[in-house]
């Protein structure tokens, strides 16, 4: 693992509130024992339904950032949703708000989810729509998101931000360090010992 300090690249504006994980990754693509190939199915039904869906738009292919609205990733806890987005090429998401499970799932995959004010998201989305080639930079230490001459202030929870900056965003190794503490906590719980 390496620290994640800044994410730079072209961006894809995806308008709409409550885009749930069933829409990001319909359930039929969960029928597999690996995450391989999920990038092909991101928003598949929405894309079929709407030929001008941003994920179908040639101008946005190869984008690294996603700019979304409210409660993005609500619904099912399926990690297949952020896994699909990551495999498609998304390395950071900026939105008005996220479901907690989706945001947590993305974080452990190394995909920071920044929140920003509604008006600022609108500015970003509009700017990117007019200039699909604009390079967008999301800076984890300052929270600033810049797209050409538009700069907005984004936010990450402090713990998550620090974890990215100090390359501690994948927690398993941390959870396994000093494992005696875990055993001691377990031993104090009445039910673990069978009351």
């Amino acid at each position: 693992m390496a620290p994640i300090t800044v994410v730079t690249g072209r961006a894809l504006p995806l308008r709409g509130n409550e885009l749930d994980t069933d829409r990001i990754m319909p359930a039929r693509f969960l029928k597999a024992v690996t995450f391989d190939g999920l990038e092909k199915h991101v928003f598949e039904d929405d894309r079929k339904d709407n030929p001008s869906h941003p994920f179908n738009n040639a101008a946005y292919q190869g984008a690294s950032l996603l700019v979304v609205n409210e409660n993005f990733g609500c619904g099912s806890s399926r990690e297949h949703a952020p896994q699909g987005l990551l495999r498609w090429g998304i390395k950071a998401i900026v939105g008005e708000s996220f479901s907690e499970i989706f945001r947590g799932n993305s974080s452990v995959l190394g995909v920071p989810c920044f929140t920003a004010a509604k008006a600022d998201i609108e500015k970003l989305q509009a700017h990117i729509e007019q200039h699909p080639d604009v390079v967008v930079t999301a800076d984890l230490s300052t929270g600033r998101i810049t797209a050409g001459d538009v700069t907005v202030q984004g936010a990450l929870p402090a713990g998550v931000r620090d974890a990215f900056l100090t390359d501690k965003w994948n927690p398993t190794a941390m959870l396994l360090a000093d494992y005696d503490d875990v055993k001691a906590t377990a031993a104090r719980l009445p039910y673990v010992a069978g009351f």
Binding site: G16, E18, D20, D22, R23, P26, A27, R28, L30, K31, V33, T34, F35, D45, D46, K48, D49, E70, N71, C74, G75, S76, S77, R78, E79, H80, P82, Q83, S97, S99, E100, I101, G104, N105, V108, L109, P157, G159, D162, A163, T166, K168, W169, N170, P171, T172, M174, L175, L176, D181, V182, T185, A186, R188, L189, P190, Y191, V192, G194, F195
Partner: protein
């Protein structure tokens, strides 16, 4: 003074991690076939093992066919996913409640079998790679859904890196009117607080309506907390909780039982506990409630008109602003899921269905939440009541709640469903339409052939 959430959190906190999050011990880890195979693979790749295999239990629910569970399944991917889980459980010494011929007879939806087997207990932290894990909070546990990478973390360490939650007390008071059920209460709560009103919160449900509810009804409420954005929902343990658990397979026995009850009692929120937020709802005002849109907050009382500016939802569902949901012709009726697939749900629906018949154009399914629910229902003759009325009686699983098995909507069919999500495409057809409601309202819709106010039909019976 602390809430149950705080007491349970503190008892399970191992330490503060360098990331600022809390390392939390997980008392019970539940696993199913869809979100776990990649986690076991990650475990192997890193050379880790399962830290507490005896605190992990597995079942197969999402992909099982419900017409026959005979192995090998006709659907080869479903068979492969089941085999992968069997192999993983064997390798790491995890108890699996499998479907099929040589099974334990305890297979079922993970959130139905946890409480049924007495695995779910007050004061536990419970995690499962499934967002409806909040269901288990009905017994006074702190239970939350996690993603696959976190399933790997729990397997490897029996702990999770978590941020604490605020607690919102949701008090429901008063007596529910006839024809109004727990499902209507939670749909009303979500309608009132919104689909992301609960982000950052655990929901503590209380008040006289909740106190008077059975554990099954409390599970219906806690189950859908996540649809309101709250990762955790719970009810403080009380005498009903203890009575529910007593004698169950994994519940404490003998002297241990008394010590357990004493501990459980000590965990309930203190009477003067402080909450981050407080909401009060009057049960008497709640009507049978039906969703008309594409997220679970888009609902109305069955006698109310739809009132919205959400054109996308109206267009998808084929409604117009101001229209009433009653009278909407349905194609499919689905009774089941972790929200409403327990014995009491089937009993309530069967009582209504008895002596009536499903409308000829409706395909109606009853899918028990577990094999145990199915056996108990059959012992009471419910299967006969349902089949005589024209319902199909199926094996246990998630079925048409998310349609990862052959039970699916076709085209833009409309389903009256007792499940928990009405998202676009949720029931297996990308253009399929779902209207969520209580199991009795589903039964009424199946019989009338259209969404209907069950109270009118209840009057028919009593008149």
């Amino acid at each position: 003074m602390p809430t149950l959430f705080e007491k349970v959190w503190n008892a399970h906190a191992v330490r503060t991690l360098p990331s600022g999050q809390t390392q939390l011990f997980v008392g019970l880890h539940l696993v199913h076939e869809v979100t776990s195979p990649q986690a076991f693979d990650m475990l192997r790749q890193h050379g880790w093992t399962v830290a507490y295999p005896q605190r992990t239990f597995a079942t197969v629910d999402h992909i099982v066919p419900t017409s026959s569970q005979k192995r090998p399944f006709i659907d080869l991917t479903a068979e492969e996913m089941t085999t992968a889980l069997e192999r993983n459980c064997r390798q790491y010494g995890i108890q699996l409640f499998a479907p099929g011929d040589d099974a334990t007879g305890q297979q079922g939806i993970v959130h139905v079998i946890g409480p049924e087997l007495g695995l779910t207990q007050p004061g536990m932290t419970i995690a499962c790679g499934d967002s409806h894990t909040s269901t288990h909070g009905a017994l006074g546990a702190i239970a939350f859904g996690i993603g696959t990478s976190q399933v790997r973390d729990v397997l490897a360490s029996q702990t999770l890196a978590m941020d604490p939650l605020k607690v919102r007390r949701i008090e429901v008071n008063g007596t529910l009117k006839p024809g109004v059920y727990a499902k209507d209460v939670i749909l009303t709560i979500i309608r009132r607080l919104g689909v992301n009103g609960g982000v950052g919160y655990a929901y503590e449900y209380g008040g006289s309506t909740i106190d008077n509810m059975s554990i099954d009804e409390r599970m219906t409420i806690c189950n859908m907390s996540i649809e309101g954005g709250a990762r955790v929902g719970y009810v403080n343990p009380d005498e009903k909780t203890f009575a529910f658990l007593k004698g169950r397979k994994y519940a404490p026995q003998g002297d241990a039982w008394d010590r357990a009850v004493a501990w459980w009692k000590s965990l309930a929120s203190d009477p003067d506990a402080t909450y981050d937020d407080h909401v009060v709802i009057n049960a008497e005002e709640i009507e049978p409630t039906v969703t008309w849109g594409i997220n679970p907050s888009q609902s109305v009382g069955v006698s109310e008109p739809i009132s919205t500016k959400d054109q996308e939802a109206l267009t998808y569902m084929g409604f117009t602003d101001g229209q009433k949901v009653a009278g909407t012709k349905i194609d499919v009726a689905f009774i089941g899921s972790c929200t409403n697939g327990r014995l009491s749900d089937l009993e309530e629906a069967a009582r209504f269905v008895k002596g009536r018949h499903v409308a000829p154009h409706v395909k109606a399914l009853v899918v028990p939440g577990s094999q145990e629910v199915r056996r108990q229902a059959e012992a009471k003759g419910l299967d006969k009541i349902f089949t005589a009325a024209g319902f199909e009686w199926r094996g246990a699983g998630c079925s048409m709640c998310l349609a990862m098995n052959p039970d699916k909507l076709v085209g833009n069919q409309i389903s009256a469903s007792s499940s928990n999500r009405n998202f676009k495409g949720r029931q297996g057809s990308p253009t399929g339409r779902t209207m969520l409601m209580s199991p009795v309202m589903v039964a009424a819709a199946a019989i009338a052939g259209e969404v209907t106010d069950v109270r009118l039909m209840l009057e028919e019976v009593t008149a």
